[in-house]
Amino acid sequence: MIRPHRSHPLWFAFALHRVSGLGLALFLPAHFYLLSLALTDPVSLDSYLALAENPLVKVAEFGLVFLLAVHFFGGLRLIALEWLPWSGRQKSLAAGAVAAAFFVSGTFFLQAV
């Protein structure tokens, strides 16, 4: 539940950063596992990769790349906020980070289909 004191852009940016970070952290072991299949079993890696043609998986992939992109731009925004001279435009920057993430992951998605 979004409590009233939270309903504002910068809190959402925080939540998004946390969710994406968490999502990536959960996905990462799976990703590593898959890649290491190359070591033991290239064939099944291929069969996994073939799965990628499945539209559902494509959407999931899009989600993943979106998470990475959103976390990436959001993270850069945070580091800029913390280390560069202060900018009063945090809300715009947060929105910009999300937009950039959509752009990147959208591009990725369009390339993939």
Partner: protein, 110 residues
């Protein structure tokens, strides 16, 4: 809970990963255009010291970064602290490092 040291580690690893991620996404966008196969991936990466360093660095950074990140989330949402929290952080970091290391080994060295 998060002191100066952990904070700096998390920020520095983030900054290390930033260009690497960008590179990775760019390669993926390029690579995915005509479908992915294991051979293709391996063909690009295997035996390449550059790719080894690229992904190796990424794995080290991401292990530290994610371990600290999950530590914060665990503490703030479940209130875990002290030795248990330290154990968790190290555990996550080492597991990621091991799994990531194996993957990098698989795609670049063998």
């Amino acid at each position: 809970m998060l002191d100066m040291r952990l904070y700096m580690l998390q920020r520095i690893t983030a900054l290390i990963m930033a260009p690497l991620t960008l590179g990775h996404i760019a390669v993926m966008i390029y690579a995915i255009q005509d479908g992915l196969t294991a051979a293709e991936i391996l063909g690009r990466t295997q035996g390449s010291l550059a790719w080894f360093l690229f992904y190796g660095l990424f794995v080290v950074a991401v292990s530290i970064h994610a371990a600290i990140g999950l530590r914060v989330i665990l503490h703030e949402t479940l209130g875990v602290k002290g030795a248990a929290l330290r154990l968790f952080t190290w555990g996550v970091g080492l597991v990621l490092l091991a799994m990531g290391g194996r993957a990098v080994w698989a795609v670049t060295v063998l």
